[in-house]
C-alpha cells in the first residue's frame, strides 16, 4: 500500500496535516460563534441542536463524497483525491482539472489509467490547486463589503430583504429540483441514474414525502429529536427507496427521459 509514490507515507502525512488544519479552523469558528450565541441569549439546546443535526445531516453526503474518491483513485491513488475533496474540492471540478492536466501533458487516456510518471502527478496537483484558489484570494478582499451591503439593505427594508433571501434559497433549491426533473446525464457514458429519470424523481418525491411526514409528526408530538433528525432521516429513507427500486425493479429504474 505504501510502495506506490502516489500513496506513500509522505502523502499520508500531508493528508493528516490537512485534516488537522481544517478541523482546527472549524473548531476555532465554532467556539467564537458559540460564545457569541450565548451572549445573544440563544439557548444551549438550540446551539447543541445545530451541532448534532448538522453532524447527522452530513453523514450520507460525506459517504457520497468518499465514494467519489474511488473514481479518481485509479489514476491518482487514494491520497491526492482525498486531500482535494477535504479542501475546496468538488468532484466535478477535480475530475475536470485532472483530465485537463493530463491532456496538457499529452496523455489522452483520461482518468481511467494509472499515472506512473511522478512529474505528471506533480503537474496534476498544481493544476488542481491553482484552478481552485481564486475564491480564497477574493474573499478576504470583498466579503466584508458584500456583507455590509446586504446588512445596509436589510436595515432599510427588512420585509423586502426577507422575501429576497427566501427567494435566493428557493432559486438555489429550484436548480437542483429542475435537474432532477429534466437535467441531462453524461452523454458519453451510459450511467444509470445520472440523467433525469425514475431514480432522480423517486429520490425527490420520497425525500419530500418523508420530510412532510416528519414535519407533521413533530407538530403533533413536539419532540426536539424529530426536528433534528427529520432531514437526515428523510434523506436516508429516500436513498433506501432508490436502492429498493434499483434492486427489485431494475428495468423501471433504468428509465431516463434525459440522457
Amino acid at each position: 500500500m505504501f510502495s506506490d509514490f502516489k500513496s506513500d507515507g509522505f502523502m499520508y502525512l500531508v493528508i493528516l496535516a490537512v485534516i488537522v488544519f481544517v478541523c482546527a479552523q472549524s473548531l476555532f469558528f465554532m467556539k467564537k460563534a458559540w460564545t457569541r450565541g450565548k451572549e445573544l441569549g440563544i439557548t444551549t439546546d438550540k446551539l447543541k441542536n445545530a451541532v448534532t443535526s448538522s453532524a447527522i445531516f452530513s453523514f450520507a453526503p460525506a459517504i457520497g463524497i468518499a465514494i467519489t474518491v474511488i473514481t479518481l483513485s485509479v489514476a491518482l491513488g487514494y491520497v491526492l483525491p482525498w486531500i482535494r475533496l477535504t479542501v475546496i474540492g468538488a468532484i466535478q471540478y477535480e475530475t475536470t482539472a485532472a483530465i485537463a492536466a493530463l491532456e496538457a501533458a499529452g496523455m489522452t487516456g483520461g482518468i481511467s489509467q494509472a499515472i506512473t510518471d511522478p512529474e505528471i502527478f506533480a503537474a496534476i496537483s498544481w493544476v488542481m490547486t491553482l484552478g481552485s484558489i481564486l475564491p480564497l484570494i477574493l474573499i478576504p478582499i470583498i466579503l466584508k463589503k458584500i456583507q455590509k451591503g446586504v446588512s445596509d439593505v436589510a436595515s432599510k427594508n427588512s420585509k423586502w430583504m426577507d422575501v429576497m433571501t427566501a427567494a435566493a434559497f428557493i432559486g438555489l433549491i429550484s436548480a437542483f429540483i429542475g435537474r432532477g426533473l429534466a437535467g441531462t446525464g453524461n452523454a458519453k457514458e451510459a450511467i444509470i441514474g445520472d440523467g433525469a429519470g425514475v431514480l432522480s424523481l423517486a429520490a425527490l418525491v420520497a425525500s419530500i414525502g418523508f420530510m412532510l411526514f416528519f414535519t407533521l409528526l413533530n407538530k403533533k408530538l413536539k419532540k426536539n429529536w424529530i426536528e433534528a433528525l427529520a432531514m437526515p432521516l428523510s434523506m436516508v429513507l429516500a436513498m433506501v427507496i432508490v436502492v429498493l427500486i434499483n434492486s427489485f425493479l431494475p428495468e423501471i429504474a433504468a428509465i431516463e427521459w434525459r440522457y
Binding site: 500513496s7 509522505f10 500531508v14 490537512v18 479552523q25 469558528f29 458559540w34 457569541r36 446551539l47 445545530a50 443535526s53 448538522s54 453526503p61 460525506a62 459517504i63 457520497g64 474518491v69 487514494y78 477535504t86 475546496i88 468538488a90 466535478q92 482539472a97 492536466a101 496538457a104 511522478p118 512529474e119 502527478f121 506533480a122 496537483s125 493544476v127 484558489i133 474573499i139 466584508k144 458584500i146 426577507d162 422575501v163 429576497m164 433571501t165 427567494a167 428557493i170 432559486g171 438555489l172 433549491i173 429550484s174 436548480a175 429540483i177 432532477g180 429534466a182 441514474g193 431514480l199 425527490l204 425525500s207 433534528a228 427529520a230 434523506m235 429516500a238 436513498m239 432508490v242 434499483n246
Partner: protein, 217 residues
C-alpha cells in the same frame, strides 16, 4: 448586528483565508520536493488555462453564496469546499430548526456552528471511508456496486427534496415560477449546475420582487 463581533469575524476569517491559501500552495510544492520533480510550467499553465472557466464560477460563487452562508460560514465553506451539495443545505436546515433568519446575528451564529460541525463530521467520515477503501478494496467494490452506486448518485436530490419540502410549503407563492422556469430551460439546454444555480437564483429573485411589488407576498 454587533459591529464588534462581525469585525472580529472578518479579521479572523481573513487570517485563516490567507493561512489556508499559503498552506494549500505548499501541498504541490511539498509533493514536488518529495518526488524531486518539477513539472514543466507550460504544461501546468496549459492545464490551468483549459479550466479557466472555473475562475468565473469562483467569482460568481463568492458573490452569490456569501450573503446566504453568512460571514463565518463563508470563511469556513470556501476552505473546506462542497458548498452547494453540503454546507449550504446544512446551514439552511440549521436556521430552519433554530427558527432564525439569514442576515441576522442569530443566523450568523447558527450557520457558523452548523457549517463547522458539518466540516468536522465530513472530514472524519471521508477519512474513515477512504482508509477502509484503500486497505479493503472489496468494500470499495461493494459501495460502488450497481446496487449502492445509484443511491449515492441521487444523494443531492434527497438533500434538496427534503429542503424543498420545508421551503416550498412555507413560501409556495414564490416557488412555482423558479421551478417551472428552470425545468423548462433544462428541456432546451442544460448549462450544468454551476451555471444553473445563479440562473435559478436570479429568476427566483426577479419573480419574488414582482410579487412583492404587486403586494402578493
Amino acid at each position: 448586528m454587533n459591529k464588534n463581533y462581525m469585525d472580529k469575524i472578518h479579521s479572523w476569517g481573513r487570517i485563516w483565508c490567507i493561512a489556508s491559501l499559503a498552506f494549500f500552495i505548499c501541498i504541490p510544492v511539498a509533493i514536488c520536493l518529495h518526488l524531486n520533480v518539477w513539472p514543466d510550467p507550460a504544461i501546468v499553465g496549459k492545464g490551468v488555462a483549459s479550466i479557466a472557466f472555473f475562475f468565473v464560477t469562483g467569482i460568481v460563487e463568492v458573490v452569490a453564496y456569501s450573503p446566504m452562508l453568512g460571514a463565518g460560514g463563508t470563511y469556513l465553506s470556501f476552505v473546506s469546499g462542497n458548498i452547494m451539495n453540503l454546507k449550504m443545505p446544512c446551514a439552511l436546515n440549521a436556521m430552519e430548526n433554530a427558527k432564525v433568519k439569514a442576515n441576522t446575528e442569530e443566523g450568523e451564529v447558527i450557520t457558523t456552528i452548523a457549517i463547522a460541525a458539518s466540516t468536522i463530521t465530513t472530514t472524519i467520515i471521508i477519512a474513515v471511508f477512504v482508509l477502509i477503501f484503500a486497505f479493503n478494496p472489496k468494500f470499495s467494490e461493494i459501495m460502488s456496486s450497481d446496487t449502492f452506486a445509484p443511491a449515492f448518485q441521487q444523494v443531492t436530490y434527497t438533500i434538496f427534496g427534503s429542503l424543498a419540502a420545508t421551503y416550498f410549503v412555507k413560501h409556495w407563492k414564490i416557488s412555482f415560477f423558479p421551478i417551472a422556469a428552470v425545468t423548462l430551460l433544462l428541456f432546451f439546454v442544460d448549462p450544468g449546475i454551476g451555471v444553473l444555480i445563479p440562473i435559478g437564483v436570479v429568476l427566483s429573485m426577479l419573480g419574488a420582487h414582482v410579487m412583492y411589488k404587486l403586494k402578493k407576498v
